[in-house]
Amino acid sequence: MRPALAYLARRATGLAAVVGVSSALLGALLLFAPGSPVAEQGLAAWLGGFWRGVFAGDLGPSYRGIPVLDLVGRGAATTLPIVGFALLLSLTGALGIVLGLGDRVAALSRPLRLGLHGLSLVPVFLLGYVALVVFGVPPDGPRRWWAAVFILAVGDGTLSDVILGLDAERRRLVEQDFVHSMRLRGLPLVRRLAPHLALPLAQLLAARLVFLLSGVLVLEMVLGIQGLGLMGYRAAVKADFTLLVAIAVGLTGLVAAVQLGVDALRVAVDPRVRKDSRQTARGSV
């Protein structure tokens, strides 16, 4: 187990560095914005203050008066479930379509797939607009929540991407000899292949997360959901740079953490990584 831990530790360090460097880069960027705290304090002082503030749990008040970290926390509590469920819904839908309709009902699946891909190509902001004006999605409550999840799961090409990715993965897998061997021996394919699908799927979803976090920004603006995206956008519009940086670093941290989760899954699933930490298989660039 020790090489595995070493591998994870190395990845974690790398990802922490990503978050740290991101905050420094954002800070350097803000040097060019007159009136930003960085321009006033200088980069090093600001960066020190920022991370001290993060660990002390106090980054001062935001443009709304509510403390920055409180706002980020509450925004995350709104946004992350939506993003998470959207990914889950997208995945469930894709699994249903790819595995359920797979090769068996090709005739039925073709128009269905075309339709879904077409729907999936519609930008999130358009779907949000239609939801608002045509379907009268209310400004609050479960109906809006589900609408947001659904739109995010489908729009901006998410569902399409997940379906295509999953399908490619499935096709790549079922042509493998060891799967043929399992088939001849009558082994339960779904159970045996789950670990093989889990890793590329996790990678696919992790890659998609970056897109989703962009989509959710637009969606929250359109539907008026008070989440990280709306707050980040408002922070930019209102030149509240501390809040903006906190959200950007937070999102980078989230992406990094999910990446770490994928790495942990890789360790759990793939003996090649577990038993030999030098071999990183397909590293996640």
Partner: protein
């Protein structure tokens, strides 16, 4: 008794890079008798692997079987339009060409052999299953079976992996073992061992062995029966002792193969491989045929396909030269 029968099998598929489906196997007849060793030879692209994969339902060619049928112990198990044959799990064991691909990379060797053991012996206690799995690993000649069982495929060398794959295939106690060029990916030094292992296990278990191979040396020594495939057709089919010997009555392709094998053994340069236009309506071998230029029946080779003609006891050849 005939175990596996392929009757006029026609398979269409889209080769990599092709636009439209093409005919890959055109009316192939092949039977595998229980307990016998049957060898299938032919060059790359002749359809050897596709034939067996289609019969066992593990081919990825689309649309796949479009004509003919496959039978198992006289019962039709696969018809056109059907993807998977009505075989019981473990009826047939398949030894793949590349052992690196044949084993589940995420599962330990022991577990994979246990999976096979459990196919025939459901409800076996775990410990007993593990013991039998180790037995199998020992039988395929892996030293330290206990240690190997805990390893994962990536930790094995090619030769060890192929032995493990044979254990996985045979632990289901199949009546038919299909070995698809099981030695191609291995070092020369290991090849003989693997083939001998397969032969021995097949004889011990009383299973039929269908060996797909390039290696005429091996084939000639082992084969009870030998089938030569070219261009998606059976061009020669006969007893192992009689087939693939130099001199007529033989199929010219068989002669060419035999000559090459001989050259390989003696270290002399073999006959050049002819290249010529294939005739769409004629004999599949017409473009390369050495006989054709000299023979009087040559015009027929380009215009009409020859039929399989008996030339001896159970020995069939597809050539106009034999017909006449």
């Amino acid at each position: 008794m005939t175990l596996l029968g392929l009757h006029g099998v026609v398979v269409d598929g889209t080769p990599h890079g092709a636009a439209a489906p093409r005919r890959l196997l055109d009316g192939v007849d092949l039977t595998v008798e229980a307990g016998q060793i049957t060898c299938l030879v032919g060059e790359s692209g002749s359809g050897k692997t596709l034939l067996l994969r289609t019969a066992l339902g593990i081919s990825t060619a689309r649309p796949g079987l479009v004509g003919g049928a496959v039978s198992w112990r006289g019962r039709t198990v696969l018809r056109p339009g059907q993807r998977r044959p009505d075989l019981r799990a473990g009826d047939a064991g398949y030894v793949f060409q590349d052992p690196g691909q044949a084993l589940d990379p995420f599962r330990s060797i022991g577990r994979q052999v246990e999976d096979s053991v459990a196919v025939r012996h459901r409800g076996l206690a775990r410990a007993e299953r593990a013991r039998r799995a180790e037995d199998w690993l020992a039988r395929v000649g892996l030293p330290d079976a206990d240690g190997v069982a805990r390893l994962h495929p990536h930790e094995l060398s090619g030769g060890m992996a192929q032995r493990a794959a044979i254990a996985v295939a045979l632990a289901t106690e199949p009546e038919l073992i299909v070995a698809d060029e099981p030695t191609t990916g291995l070092d020369w030094s290991l090849r003989r061992g693997i083939v001998e292992l397969l032969e021995q296990l097949a004889r011990d278990e009383g299973a039929a062995l269908l060996l797909i191979s390039h290696d005429l040396e091996v084939v000639r020594r082992l084969a009870d029966r030998l089938v030569v495939l070219f261009g998606g057709q059976v061009v020669e089919d006969g007893p192992g002792a009689a087939t693939l010997r130099p001199g007529p009555p033989r199929h010219p392709y068989g002669i060419e193969l035999a000559a090459r094998a001989e050259a390989m053994r003696t270290g002399e340069p073999g006959p050049a491989t002819g290249r010529g236009a294939t005739a769409p309506n004629g004999c599949v071998f017409a473009g390369r045929c050495a006989l054709r230029s000299a023979a009087t029946f040559a015009d027929r080779c380009a215009t009409s396909p020859p039929a399989l003609t008996a030339v001896g006891d159970g020995h069939l050849v597809r050539c106009h030269g034999v017909e006449s």
